[in-house]
Symmetry: C2
Subunit: 330 residues, 2 copies
């Protein structure tokens, strides 16, 4: 009930990082300008103006600053990470043929698939230009690896959709590609740019990775539970996405139940009432409860990794963020 | 008539660079493997197996070797350049909704738009990983700038299509994005990796840029003239692309003729016989002849730049290549 008024760890991070976040916003606006192609800022302004939570840039800034960094490279890195994220959103909209994103029509509906593909490419290129400006090859290595993991995860998700044999290991690779690879690159490169010790850099990587996995697991769980922010229950079922709740329900299914999954997910023939039955089968396997426990476990792992990082307010806020992303399912 | 038997400068380059080109092929095959997503090599093998001319990797290898390079970084760079090129082809097919490429069905018809977008992203990411491995920040700077110019040019082409007010300056920017930016990045980075003097590196840039512009102008000219390798005359007219012949014809058009262009290109209402009339209007302005002269001028500029580079067989072959790309319109 007081959800609306609660000050979240994201709010506190945004306040603590207000100045560099301003710099990130300026960098993004300056770099998405295209002298030659005014369509580009039109498309990106639409996306970036839609008010994302800026969680990724905050991860970079918090990681570098909790390690004592005071320069400007982390602002460039944070903008890089947000550009990569925005580019993947643009391409996702083409791939998912989505009509809505953050409650507004997606760019591919307002303009067309062509613009979404090409402007996404432009943002990727801009991201690489920005990261090259940091002049740090270790950072470039991590971010280019993250970009490959993201693309690989997306392709894997495409081929795994409707495949009942999808394993939990495959799910984890998809989740790393969708979310955790960029989270961990954001925190790890923040530590590197600050010149942190290897042990701290490794801990920051583990934190970002675990946070991203917990974040995505909660998202996949809420697709089955519904929540108060308007996400549509059952989207993943309709799109035949093999998320963890379905993987676990299918793993325990026999006879008629297995035939049900083969028809609705494998063949995509869905009828009225199927979503209800799917949920019942998932509950019968205790799948939501077990995924919930796993998500909490990842959040714990992330918080625990932070104990190997320099103490302070920013570290505390990141630890609280770890709890916050799983709070909705606690 | 003896066209089929003629040994081209491309053939001679391929023979002179046989060993490093083998290395490029191996690098490409090794890097497009994806442990997690077998769809990826499926899609790229289809494209790369289609037997492109490998002109871009040869440009990098020839540039580095004529400057005396003997290491392995140019092989990585050449593979990088081919990956970027292949990624843009995949995304172009989605944008153009093409059904054929190099005489074979395009990837987006064989699989789907989704795979074309995501596998293209994967190749971009792989390209960045490879270039990071060269450890040369100047190379990274040039290639990330080229990637931005390419994406910007594509967006510009999209917005310029059907716009009768498109200027020759805009056309040149589109051509640089489509072709010349990657050609010049290929030659320039070849020189840099070889440790060539700034003057030589600059000359290699001018050569690649001029070669790319001549190459694309010839392509746009042949769309109006037809040639013997099966390119369809009139594709650009049907797609309402403002290439140089149309820009020049429109610039000199008045009254009925202007109305014709406004209807066919501006509004896209095309009827039987329109292609014939378009060609007549282009001829009336001498537009094909003037574009032909410009293309030859760019080829000359490219050849001339090479005189500032170290002499030898490879330099001679690159000079011949400059003539070769405009030979079909001589």
């Amino acid at each position: 009930m007081t959800q609306q008024l609660q000050i979240t760890p994201l709010d506190r991070l945004a306040a603590a990082l207000a100045e560099p976040l301003e710099g990130v916003g300026e960098t993004i606006r300056a770099r998405m300008v295209s002298e030659h192609a005014p369509r580009i800022p039109e498309v990106t302004e639409h996306l970036i103006g839609a008010g994302g939570k800026r969680i990724r840039p905050m991860l970079t800034l918090a990681a570098s600053r909790l390690c004592g960094y005071r320069g400007m490279h982390d602002v460039r890195l944070a903008a890089t990470v947000e550009f990569i994220h925005t580019a993947t959103l643009l391409h996702d909209d083409v791939v998912d043929q989505s009509g809505q994103r953050r409650g507004r029509p997606t760019a591919n509906l307002l303009w067309d698939n062509k613009s979404s593909v090409l402007v996404g490419d432009y943002l990727f290129a801009r991201a690489f230009q920005l990261m090259v400006e940091t002049g740090n090859l270790r950072v470039l290595d991590i971010l280019s690896n993250a970009a490959a993991t993201i693309a690989e995860g997306e392709v894997l998700q495409l081929t795994a959709a409707s495949d009942l044999a999808t394993s939990e290991a495959t799910y984890l690779k998809i989740v790393r590609g969708k979310t955790a690879a960029l989270f961990s690159a954001a925190t790890e490169t923040g530590g590197i740019i600050a010149g942190a010790d290897d042990e701290v850099v490794a801990a920051l990587h583990v934190y970002g990775d675990a946070l991203g996995i917990a974040f995505q697991m909660v998202d996949d769980l809420l697709d089955w539970q519904g929540d108060d922010i308007g996400k549509n229950t059952g989207d993943d079922f309709r799109e035949r996405k093999m998320t963890l709740p379905i993987i676990r329900a299918v793993a325990g299914a026999e006879g008629d139940d297995w035939a049900f999954w083969a028809r609705t997910i494998g063949k995509g023939r869905q009828e009225d009432g199927d979503l209800h039955r799917a949920r019942a089968l998932i509950d019968a396997q205790g799948a939501l409860e077990s995924v919930r426990k796993d998500a909490l476990g990842w959040a714990d792992r992330g918080r625990e990794a932070l104990t190997r990082c320099p103490p302070g307010d920013l570290r505390d806020m990141l630890a609280d963020l770890s709890d916050y992303v799983v709070e909705r399912i606690r």
